[in-house]
């Protein structure tokens, strides 16, 4: 039997999760619709003045992205947990961290990437300038994977618990604050003519840190939850 390399394994898990997600498109769409709805509610709540909307656009889009990524986190491990797949994954000779990383990437592609693609359209509703939109997209591209990865820790810790969804948000949201700050800070910087390199560098650094540590921590959390 051919020995599967780490990369093959990663691709395998990602492909499997994507196929599963595509078989249940409704789940993917709900997250996206939730994102669009939350963002559209803000102008109704605070009034239609363009100057104010332009100013708060980045914050609204980021907070909405944060909330909608929480929404889909509950499903990250629960289906595999219920049908026993997760147990088999833990028994597999390959590294659990790698499998977890694959699931994180797939989760981001299903629930993070659509938000990133949708964000410019919603940004236009808020009359954001083209540069600001560009910065917002880059920030979201760097930031949403971090949300998926931090969220995976919470999803693993709350696996199979009563009221796991709300608890998950309670655990994960405080940890996501730095991402929110740098993501919105970058847009604010470009709007006031400042350099965005430092914000992006911080987001990139957070992404790298998350990429290194969160799969391992999540794997540990899964082991605790599955005992």
């Amino acid at each position: 039997m051919k020995k599967t390399s780490m990369l093959d394994l990663l691709v395998l898990v990602i492909r499997r999760d994507l196929v599963l997600a595509m078989r249940r498109r409704a789940d993917v769409l709900t997250t996206l619709i939730f994102f669009v709805m939350v963002v559209s509610l803000f102008p109704l709540g605070v009034g239609p003045e363009m100057a104010m909307l332009r100013k708060m656009a980045a914050g609204v889009l980021w907070v909405a992205a944060l909330l909608s990524s929480m929404l889909s986190l509950g499903r990250l491990f629960s289906a595999d947990y219920l049908d026993g797949t997760l147990e088999q994954m833990m028994l597999a000779p390959q590294s659990l961290s790698m499998l977890v990383l694959g699931k994180m990437v797939a989760h981001w592609m299903v629930s993070g990437l659509p938000l990133v693609l949708m964000a410019p359209v919603l940004g236009l509703q808020f009359d954001m300038s083209v540069e600001a939109l560009g910065v917002l997209i880059i920030g979201l591209l760097l930031g949403t994977p971090i949300l998926s990865m931090l969220g995976a820790i919470g999803a693993a810790l709350t696996l199979g618990l009563r009221g796991g969804g709300v608890l998950l948000s309670l655990l994960v949201l405080p940890l996501c604050i730095p991402v929110l700050i740098f993501g919105t800070g970058a847009v604010e910087a470009i709007s006031s003519g400042l350099d965005i390199a430092s914000h992006m560098a911080f987001l990139g650094a957070l992404l790298v840190l998350a990429l290194v540590f969160t799969p391992w921590v999540t794997a540990q959390a899964l082991r605790i939850s599955m005992e």
Binding site: I153, L157, T158, L161, R162, G163, L167, L170, L171, L173, P174, L175, I177, P178, I181, F182, G185, E188, A189, F202, L206, F213, V217, Q220, A221, I224, S225, E227
Partner: protein, 245 residues
């Protein structure tokens, strides 16, 4: 003579030790609170800039220091429990969490009371205030996660992992919040190297020591109840005089 350092790491022996220590810590905390409050209210002079309002720092500053420090202590115990699987360490972490959350809350509350006369607002999105609020959220997350898992061993380990992740994240959150705030505006009031009156220092340090002793006493009392609850089916609990009667 070799001392067995690990003797008191077992709940059986620690239960008795904690019971003996609690009165000492409690009484000395009460005395220090009284002394600290006396110095704070009667001896310490009025502040030139802030008038009488500044006196709230005698509880505000110790509460803030303890809320941050207790999180680290809690994460430390949680990590010990996770790594060495010592039951008592996890129980200590669980016992510390409510006290830490309480201090974080007191710190926010007194901060708001101080902010109203000084800044003219109950709440400012100041870097320190915001990080303290996030710290409170982290405590609440720890307590909520622990409370919602029925199996105590799994609860201990899951909450421990969360505490460790949180403690890694705390500096990142602190600096990002600080940076976020300085981007917007500088803080309204700055204390730059004002030399504190000696009586103010005395009051503050006495109150800090009092808060420490209070925290230790309360945590020990709480850990005793946790031990009783978790080990209720063992024979040594059944043989305790207070349980027998």
């Amino acid at each position: 003579m070799a001392i067995n350092w690990f003797k008191y790491s077992a709940p059986t022996t620690f239960y008795g030790l904690a019971g003996k220590l609690i009165p000492w810590f409690a009484v000395s905390a009460a005395i220090l609170f009284a002394v600290g409050l006396y110095i704070g209210f009667y001896v310490a002079p009025m502040d030139a800039v802030q008038g009488e309002f500044y006196r709230i720092i005698f509880i505000h500053v110790p509460a803030s220091i303890l809320s941050m420090f207790l999180y680290l202590v809690m994460a430390g115990y949680a990590a010990l429990g996770l790594i060495f699987k010592t039951r008592l360490s996890s129980m200590m972490a669980t016992a510390i969490a409510p006290t830490g959350a309480l201090f974080a809350f007191i710190s926010l509350w007194t901060g708001a009371l101080w902010g109203k006369p000084m800044w003219g607002a109950w709440w400012m999105w100041d870097a320190r205030l915001t990080s303290e609020l996030i710290l409170l959220f982290l405590y609440l997350g720890f307590i909520a996660l622990h409370a919602s898992i029925d199996d105590p061993r799994r609860a201990d380990r899951a909450a421990a992992l969360l505490a460790i992740v949180g403690s890694v994240n705390v500096p990142i959150i602190y600096f990002s919040v600080k940076w976020w705030n300085t981007l917007h505006q500088g803080s309204t009031i700055k204390f730059t190297g004002t030399s504190m009156h000696i009586a103010m220092q005395q009051a503050m340090f006495t109150m800090l020591a009092a808060c420490w002793l209070y925290a230790i006493a309360v945590v020990l009392a709480r850990v005793r109840s946790i031990i009783l609850e978790r080990e209720r089916n063992t024979t040594w609990i059944a043989e305790l005089p207070e349980v027998k009667s």
